[in-house]
Symmetry: C2
Subunit: 116 residues, 2 copies
């Protein structure tokens, strides 16, 4: 997965997931890779950006066409298993926010934030 997601047509949704990993892998890495691939091929998914520092605090933002596509991915059977394992084993804490993206730009070659 490339680090950056494209900027699709506005408006669209962002699901902001911030999470602290617990100690140990416990099957996390393999499942996370699989869930990323599945989410990205899920209808209405527009991309994903994700990073984590060595201390285990990570942020994953996935982008979606509409609420229906978010809810469909959330209800996916294999994703439900992963969500339960996330609660039971992988994360000591997480926040999840669903937000409507109203504007966006990229840089440095794009619109300059200092001039708008």
């Amino acid at each position: 997965m490339p680090d950056f997601a494209p900027l699709p047509a506005l408006p669209y949704f962002a699901v902001i997931f911030t999470a602290q990993r617990a100690e140990g892998d416990h099957g996390y890495t393999a499942m996370a890779d699989r869930m990323s691939d599945m989410a990205l091929s899920s209808p209405g998914c527009l991309g994903m950006e994700s990073t984590r520092h060595a201390g285990g605090f990570g942020i994953t933002v996935s982008y979606w066409r509409d609420e229906a596509s978010i809810l469909a991915w959330k209800a996916d059977a294999q994703h439900l298993v992963a969500q339960q394992l996330g609660q039971d084993r992988w994360y000591t804490h997480y926040n999840l926010r669903v937000a409507l993206v109203e504007r966006h730009y990229s840089g440095p070659e794009g619109r300059a934030p200092v001039r708008d």
Copy 2:
């Protein structure tokens, strides 16, 4: 700065900044620390969550009460200097998205994503 931001009263805004750092520090670390402190003490700022992996890809999400507080921080004189340095030196690429947070939850002790 703690890793997690609180979940404030809905709705509120999220500014999602994803960026790839260029090689070398060039004053980045000191300025980033200063900008985080300044943003967090800026009127209307509700919190911030930020992480970056060793390869230099980072995500910072800041949360704001309203559009006016986002625009006021964006126009801050010292922040304008930092934005220009970000374009000129620190980032090879970035995406910035402004989004309205419509719902949120936290876990594992909070609302269980598998059951809603």
